[in-house]
Each structure stands twice: as C-alpha cells, then as structure tokens.
C-alpha cells in the first residue's frame, strides 16, 4: 500500500500569516523574505514528503471573504472531507475577533459533518506585536473561548502562541506534525534506548528538510542546566539558519559537532529523512590526569582530546548501528499499529 497521505487544512482570515508560516517551515524562507508574499488565490496545495512514507497534503486556503464563502458553500465537500488536521490561524491584532471566531465555528461545524475525527489546532499568531507582559493573558483569553466553542462539537483544540520572528513557530509545527506521525511512540521508545546506551544527556530526532523535532529524550540525571524549555525549537531555528547559509555555497551540511564549554553536541544523519543530535555533557571525573604513555603532552590536555576522539567515534558508531532500526521504523506501514 502506498504511503499515507495526511490532509492538513490551513485556514484563517486574510493576512493572518498562513502562507508565511508555510514558506518558513516548508520552503526555507527566512522570516524577512516572507514580506514578498502576496495574498493566496483560492487554495494552494503543497505535497510535502515527511519521513519517507508519509505525505502531508497541505491546503493553504486563501482567507479573503469571497473565498471563505465558497469554502462553506459550494466547496464544502471538497475542502472538509478526509481531513486529518485543521490548523486555524488567528491574527492577535485582528480587529474583528468576533468574526474570526465565527469562521472558526463554521469550520468546526463542517468538520464535524465530514471529518469528525480530525485534530484541531489553533495558532495565535503575530505574538511579537503584543508586549511581553500581556502575552500570556491575551493567549489565555482567546484560548478560553476557543476551547468552549470546540467543546460544543466535542473537539479538543490545542493552542500555540506563535510568531515568525522567533522559535515558537517551530514548536507549534513540530507538535502538529508529530501528532500525525502514526508510530511516533515507537520512535520515542527506540530513541530512549539509544540515549540510555549512549549515556547521553539529551537525544533529539529531527526531520531532515524542515528540522522539526520528531521526538526527544532527556536523561533525568543530567546536570540541571537543561532548564531552557524552549531549547528544542531554538535548535531547530539555529540549524535551519545554518542550512540556509550552507546552501549559499551550494552544499548541504552532513554533520556537525560542537565541543562547548560544558557539553559536546553531535548532529549527524540518521536515516535519509532524519537527523539525530546527541548531547553529552563533559564529565569532569573522567578527564583524569594520566599522561599519554610515552608522549609529549604539549598543553596538558592531550588526554582530554583522546577521550574526546574516543567519544566521538563511539557516538558515530552507535548512530550507524541504530540506523537500521530507525530506517525500519520509518518504512513501517503507517496504518499498522
């Protein structure tokens, strides 16, 4: 059976930011570049391969009133059938919040009729335009009304506050896409095993093109400096920018290893669709004071760089071995459970 096709509806009023989001996550636009985008005419379809065997069929529906009227009348069937997820974008600065929510309710009503099992996501977008102190409140206020309306149709809505100017966009889309991956629990389980065996502090699995986080595992015994809860999105953002710079040299990066002051991160290809990042913190007790046998230690840390080298090779070897398992998981028929 061919790979699964997941239909995603991206809806929202005109100018709320749907096409910008789509271009940043899936088409490598930078946030700055999105100002070139014009209004979307009717529906723009994108087919995006995700994880090899899954195709995301993203319907970016133009938000102008004329189009919206069509969607709810003549094109109802076409639009709302077989939908896996609805992503509704609210512009936080919208002057017609009432109307936005009404449109949302209309979508829910149609989904209830044609695709009752679809997931609902609400993105409260352009949060950079709200002052920092008010953001929580604005978000909560909107979500409250959305949760109430969704409950009327027995849908559970999941909300995110996003902006294209920071990493929150990646967090939202990672969650959305992950909820559609059928065997994400399996990825999680094997990633956990990998992390335990490697004694890594953190292991993160990314999708290769979009750099959305598929799954991550944190060792609970790792030092307490892992306190930035938005670090995964930040990593997505940082690496995506690096990818874009490499493309200036008409090349892509294959691996990256960064030895920082307290930890070393290794980023390498896992399967043809995923990359894995392994973070090992520096363990002070292992860096012993034993000198290299018979060697001239120039600056006293020869033994440290040996240990580094060894760790590097071990991680790479582990990744190589794990690769087969992960490839198998990817290739599994998505509709098997």
């Amino acid at each position: 059976m061919a790979g699964a096709r997941r239909k995603l509806l991206l809806m929202g009023r005109s100018g709320s930011g749907k096409s910008s989001m789509r271009s940043i996550i899936f088409s490598n636009y930078s946030a700055f570049d999105t100002r070139r985008l014009g209004a979307t005419i009717d529906v723009e379809h994108s087919h995006l391969r995700f994880l090899g065997n899954m195709t995301l069929n993203l319907w970016d529906c133009g938000g102008q009133d004329a189009y919206m009227d069509h969607y709810f009348s003549t094109q109802r069937d076409n639009i709302f059938r077989m939908v896996e997820a609805l992503i509704f974008v609210f512009d936080v600065e919208s002057k017609e919040l009432r109307k936005d929510i009404e449109t949302f309710v209309l979508c829910l009503r149609n989904l209830y009729e044609f695709s009752p099992s679809s997931k609902i996501f609400a993105l409260v977008h352009k949060m950079d335009l709200v002052i920092l102190e008010k953001r929580q409140d604005v978000y909560r206020a909107l979500m409250k009304s959305l949760e109430d309306t969704s409950a009327m149709f027995s849908f559970q809505v999941q909300g995110f506050a996003t902006t294209i100017w920071d990493e929150s966009l990646y967090k939202a889309w990672s969650s959305i896409v992950c909820s559609l991956i059928p065997n994400v629990a399996l990825f999680q389980k094997h990633l956990q095993t990998f992390a335990d065996i490697s004694e890594a502090d953190e292991v993160i699995l990314f999708e290769k093109t979009t750099f959305l986080v598929i799954s991550h595992v944190t060792n609970p015994r790792s030092p307490g400096f892992r306190s930035d809860s938005t670090r995964f999105e930040k990593i997505s953002n940082i690496i995506k920018q690096y990818k874009q710079s490499c493309s200036k040299l008409r090349a892509q990066f294959q691996s990256l290893s960064i030895r920082g002051t307290d930890s070393t991160s290794y980023l390498d290809t896992m399967t043809s669709n995923t990359m894995i990042m392994v973070i090992m913190s520096h363990k002070p007790d292992i860096r012993g004071s034993s000198n290299l046998p018979g060697g001239n230690d120039i600056n006293g840390d020869g033994d440290e760089s040996l240990a580094d080298e060894a760790e590097n090779n071990i991680i790479l070897a582990n990744i190589k071995i794990a690769r087969k398992m992960f490839e198998k998981i990817e290739m599994m028929n998505p509709d098997d459970r």
Binding site: G224, S227, K234, I238, K248, A251, I258, T261, I298
Partner: protein
C-alpha cells in the same frame, strides 16, 4: 556642542588603535556601531535616536580599539582645534556616505575633513563607506562607487594632496559587507598583521588547510587571513559557523553568573537567568541571540562540520576572543590529529605575540 565637550571626549591615554567615524547626519554611523559592537539586529536600528554627543565604543578583545562616532550635526569649522587633537591620535577615519541620498554635500564635507585630518596626521587612513547599498541595484552600486571615487580623488588632486591613503567600500548593515569592510579597516591598524598572515600561511601549508581566518568572535570581523584568494561566500559561511557554535554553546552552558559562587553550580536558579537571557528570540534573518557575556574560561571551544561538497569547516577558539576558522577538504580528516597538533603551535605563537606586543 561646545569645544570643551568635544575636547573631553578624546581618546584619553589609550594608545591602542582608534577609529573615528564621521559623516552627515542620518548617514548610518550609529547603526553601524550598534550592529557591529552591541549585537543589535539590523532591523532594530530604525529606532535609534539621533546622536547628539560624540560616543565612544571601546572594543576590547584581541586589541583594544575604540570607535568614536561624531554626530553629523557638528560644524567642524567651529571646533577645528580639538578636531585636530582627535585626528592626530587616531589611526583611521571612516566617513559614511548615504548612497541612497544626494551625496554632493557629503563629498564637500568629506573633502574639508580630509584636508584637516591629513594636516593633523599625515599617516591617517581614510576609509569611505558608501553605505546603504542594499537599496541599490548592482549596476547602480558600481556606478555610485565609481562616481564617488572619481570626484573625491579629483578634488584631492586639485588641492595637491597626493599621498593620502584613501579607500572606498560598498557597505550595508543588512548583509556581510559591513563586516568585511570593517575587517579591512581594522587590519590596516594592526601592527602584527604581517606576522599573523605569515603564521596563517605556514599553518595552511603544513596542515592541508585550504583557507584559514582569524576572526574576532564578538564582532565577526576577521583580523587576518592567509594569502589564498578570498571570496565572500566563504567569509559569510565562516561567520555563520561562528554564530551557530556560540549559540549552541550558550544553549547548553552552565550558568556561571557571579551570584552562583562555584563554577559549576547546576542548582543555581539558572531557570530564571537563562530564560531572561533567551527571551529575545532569534531573528531569523541574520544575527543570533543576545550574547551578554563572553565565552567563559575553560577548555577552548571547537567545532567541526562536514559539508556535502567535501569541505570541512573547522573552528578552534584562540586567545583573547579570537577564533581560528579553517576550511579543509575531507581528505584531511584522517590526519586531523596532526592538524590539531599544528594548531596548538599556532595558538602558542599567538599567545607569545600578545605577550610581547
């Protein structure tokens, strides 16, 4: 703006390289300083207020240099005596011309400034930044550069000033051109430049490195490079590589703020501190997160990246806020231990250079 104020803002007793930045108002001088030395995002420079007093940014990393920015409204004929004091103690004069505006007035202003500067200090380097070129098309940029170069040199010739060291750069804060131009300006002021280039050449020859740069991590200007030809995409990817290395390091660094007494104190309330640090977010276009503190002492930071076209990027932190960034071919990877060995010698050489110099 009295003469005393101007006098009081001199460089003082600081003997290290000094750069003075001048230009008509709204030319872009403050934006350049903010973006380069205070990590401001280029888009945020729209909100900078007009400069009313001479501002000095002291930049201390590998070399302490100070950039003094004189407001555009200064009428130089009034405070000429003190201006000469400033010129005689500085190594380079950067004049910023707004290329999107009528620049005839700027050129006249520049001409009179050059005359005074050269009188005060015949060895001063004049650097003309033809700024805000991001708004011009490629042909227009070259046209502007040609036109300005022609006019300025003609006027200087008319006045009989032939030995003026003057160079022209096309710059914009929205891409890497400003960094490259500033790198060139700073390089002319470093006495150790020839030695550094020589060291880099030797390192490259003996380690199979194609291109090596010595960068300043904070401002991303490059202090020296080896003699192989420089192309801009290479420079750009090196600056991006430095950015991600520093960002990733900061994400996972232990909070070493003074309040937590010991160096590795994982139980300090790093939660609040780190979140405050990171709430600026990352502007996707160019730069990176706020870097309020320099890289803490410890083992030098390094990173490696393999690219699909066989190029390897290799970074090693050096002394005094510098970093060595090399491009190698992947065939050199099996011998990486030898390369690292050579780099250690290079690092020692740098340390000695700064002890003496």
């Amino acid at each position: 703006m009295s003469a005393e104020e101007l006098h009081g803002h001199g460089f003082g007793a600081n003997p290290s390289p000094r750069i003075v930045m001048m230009g008509l108002r709204r030319g872009g001088k403050s934006s350049i300083c903010q973006v380069m030395f205070h990590n401001m995002q280029p888009l945020d420079t729209l909100y900078i207020e007009s400069t009313t007093a001479p501002t000095t940014s002291v930049f201390s990393s590998f070399i302490d240099f100070a950039v003094m920015e004189l407001p555009g409204q200064i009428n130089f004929t009034d405070a000429m005596i003190d201006a000469e004091r400033i010129f005689s103690s500085c190594g380079a004069l950067i004049y910023v011309i707004d290329s999107q505006d009528e620049y005839i007035n700027a050129l006249a202003n520049l001409h009179s400034i050059i005359i005074h500067a050269v009188n005060a200090n015949p060895t001063i380097n004049i650097e003309v930044f033809i700024h805000k070129v991001d708004g011009l098309s490629e042909d227009f940029r070259l046209d502007a550069q040609r036109d300005i170069t022609q006019r300025v040199t003609d006027e200087l010739l008319d006045d009989g000033l032939v030995n003026v060291s003057i160079s022209f750069h096309l710059t914009s804060i929205f891409d890497h051109s400003i960094y490259e131009a500033f790198s060139r300006v700073v390089q002319k002021l470093i006495p150790q430049l020839a030695t550094l280039e020589n060291l880099l050449n030797v390192l490259c020859q003996h380690s199979g490195i194609d291109k090596a740069f010595l960068f300043d991590i904070g401002s991303k200007i490059f202090v020296a490079t080896d003699s192989s030809p420089l192309d801009i995409p290479t420079y750009e990817i090196c600056t991006d590589f430095i950015d991600i290395t520093v960002d990733m390091n900061n994400l996972y660094a232990v909070d070493r703020r003074p309040k937590s007494g010991s160096r590795t104190d994982p139980n300090a309330n790093s939660n609040n501190n780190n979140n405050n640090n990171h709430n600026n977010g990352i502007a996707v276009n160019q730069n990176t997160t706020d870097r309020p503190e320099p890289i803490p002492p410890g083992r030098p930071i390094g990173s490696t990246s393999r690219l699909s076209n066989g190029v390897i990027l290799y970074l090693q932190q050096m002394v005094k806020g510098l970093a060595l960034v090399c491009l190698m071919r992947k065939e050199s990877m099996p011998k990486i231990a030898l390369v690292e060995y050579n780099i250690e010698f290079f690092r020692d050489a740098l340390e000695q250079l700064w002890l003496i110099g």
